[in-house]
């Protein structure tokens, strides 16, 4: 199935079949990683702009790596080194990019909806690399890819997302993608961090960590940044770790095959204990590797790439 759309702005917009075909393609790219030559020169001569209006290391490097392995020409815009800080409107930014005739825009922005706005005014493809607290679709895809590698079909599987749901774009993309694939999603965090009405997205809310993890097949643990909270939504990192931290003790309460994920970067011993972060139940580095594959697949498919192109490579 060819991805027949201009942009990928969120998992909210994607059909289940589209998600699955992106993941299938991602697996093919993932297989290429073990070859001596990991590049696939299918984006030669095409220009991808990475517009990062918010600091990001992991996602930006992952996108860059994906683009380089596809042999795309890459331009990086950082917030600090562009006119974005000076209060240029998004429309001006968009029109400038339009004039430069780029083929694809990868955008990270602090404002929810920024990628949607750019997608509306730009003729080129737009991939949302995180917009405010709204969505982070490639993170959602790589999380789901990682889950699928271990659990197979996600229908009926229980995923518990733990942390600051209100401020998390990772949580929203996970919720949309997982519910579309039939997984049962439970959200767990302090009531001050679980936004009202979120259960209407078809998820269960649970404030008691032990209960939230007891039946889970996967824990997806979100990064906590208490210092960023304007109205004090939680007293301290220590209290957070005590009530919601994923410790070895919590992990002992999991089903035997259940595992722990984290989108990174981790605050060790806040939302996740170091022993768990380095322990046998986590798949954090798999997520990182899958992230590159997912981004390669998405860029490739959005550029009109043939989903069967790498089929022969699988056998090697």
């Amino acid at each position: 199935m060819i991805l027949n759309r201009k942009d990928v702005l969120g998992l909210e917009d994607l059909e289940a079949e589209e998600i699955l075909s992106i993941l299938d393609m991602s697996e093919r790219f993932r297989a290429v990683f073990d070859r001596p030559v990991r590049g696939v020169p299918i984006m030669r001569g095409r220009t991808v702009v990475n517009l990062f209006h918010e600091p990001s290391t992991r996602t930006r490097i992952s996108f860059e790596l994906a683009e380089k392995r596809l042999s795309a020409d890459i331009i990086n815009f950082q917030a600090a080194s562009s006119s974005l800080r000076k209060g240029e409107t998004l429309r001006d930014t968009a029109e400038n990019l339009q004039a430069m005739r780029i083929d694809m825009l990868v955008v990270r922005h602090a404002s929810a909806g920024a990628a949607h706005y750019l997608a509306r005014v730009l003729k080129c493809s737009v991939i949302n690399a995180g917009d405010g607290a709204h969505e982070h679709p490639t993170q959602g895809l790589l999380d789901i890819m990682t889950m699928r590698q271990r659990l197979g079909d996600l229908r009926g599987k229980k995923v518990t997302i733990i942390g600051d749901i209100a401020h998390s774009r990772v949580a929203r993309s996970n919720i949309w993608g997982l519910t579309k694939l039939g997984a049962e999603v439970t959200l767990c965090g302090p009531p001050t961090m679980v936004p009202g009405g979120i259960d209407r997205l078809g998820v269960t809310v649970e404030y008691d960590l032990r209960r939230a993890v007891a039946q889970a097949d996967v824990l997806n643990v979100l990064r906590i940044q208490l210092e960023r909270h304007e109205s004090k939504s939680f007293p301290s990192n220590r209290e957070y770790h005590k009530l919601f931290g994923i410790t070895e003790d919590v992990v002992r309460g999991l089903k035997p095959e259940a595992f722990v994920m984290h989108p990174g970067p981790m605050n060790r011993d806040v939302e996740i204990a170091s022993e768990v972060a380095d322990g046998p139940r986590q798949v954090i580095l798999d997520q990182v590797a899958n992230g590159v594959a997912v981004r390669m697949a998405l860029i490739y498919l959005l550029s009109g790439g043939d989903p069967g192109a790498l089929a022969g490579g699988d056998a090697e």
């Binding site: 929810a112 909806g113 405010g132 607290a133 709204h134 979120i198």
Partner: protein, 440 residues
Amino acid sequence: MAAWSWDRISAEYIVTNVKLCRGAKLSRRKGFLHVRRGVIEALGSGAPTVEGLPRLDGQGLVCAPGFIDLHVHFREPGQEEKETVATGSRAAAAGGFTGVVTMPNTVPAVDNPGLVRYIIDRGKEANLCRVYPTGAISPGRAGEALTEFGSMIEVGAVGFTDDGSPVTSGALMSNALKMTRMHNVPIISHAEDLSLTGPGVMHGGYWSSRLGLPGIPRASEDAAVFRDVELARATGGHLHVAHVSTRGAVQIIRRAKEEGVHVTAEATPHHFSQDHACCRDYSPLFKMSPPLREPDDVAAVVEGLVDGTIDCIATDHAPHTATEKEYQFDQAPFGVTGLETALAVGITHLVRDGRMDLEHLVRCMTEKPAAIMNLPGGRLEEGSDADFVLFDPDHEWVVDPDRFHSRSRNSSYCGESLTGKVVATFLRGRLTHRDETGSP
């Protein structure tokens, strides 16, 4: 019969063939309005008996008192790129308004008699509608002390408010309300608990959770309305609650009125017709304060208007430049324009939906707001100034921001099809607006 000319309206003329909207009664029979030197000389049903005067064929339009809006932002002085008293007056006339009450949150704030007089003078220069300024409650709207109410009233201030921001200090609000007992003008409350609003940019609920935008809880308004109502009860002052948007606020006001507290209230067209789902595409055209709430809040606001808990409709006309509204949702300023769509939104969402009759809607835009601020007008009566509007309650039109007379275009109804169009507006008998697309 002398030939009618729109361009040269004589000192004395008769508008014929109109349905007169007087008080609670919309005449089914066609009637006439006789204007002489800016004053209503006579009016009634049937054909006029006086001969030899120029006549304007009203073509069966409704003839109502000129509308009065208790809540507009004309941005002058200081933000003339958004609107001026002149352009705002032009928009008002286009919306059928003959009187508007301006908010004092200009730059600098209208907190002294000089600026009150300045606004009035600018209004007279434009001469398209009556411009009634309010003054700030506190100097610089800083919420720290009281302004000179008496001196501002002397030059024409009709009420006081720190609109745009709440009066955080309960003690200051209490004193402001006490003052109204000797001054006989209302204190207009922008009811908001800023600590609850926090970084919020839209209503806090399902849609803000889904869109990942910080929410403004209903409690931000409810708690503030409750405080101000209790202060009005305690002081005996006249509290006017601006832009009511929540079910809770409607209930608090309803109960207070039943208990005899001197409280009046207004609601905006957007709060009785649109809800938070409008924000789904992140368009800043739906960003306003207070925010668009939930469907049951919209229903409660409508109910409040129907049963009189909410006395009147006010637009909270809040112009912003196109550039400002091109920022991302969370960065764009709060506010939408409203003067040029108010009647049509009322007809479309209240009258056609069967919630209230046209007479009631007209009263919510004429005599009721006039009574709250002790303003002249609001009724069609012999001997009163000839401030009136002709409108077609059945005319369907599509809102085209390029056709607005306001300097700004940030309407939340752009592209929407609405019913009811102002055809002509008259101030003291003089034509201030004529719709080029409509009849006659």
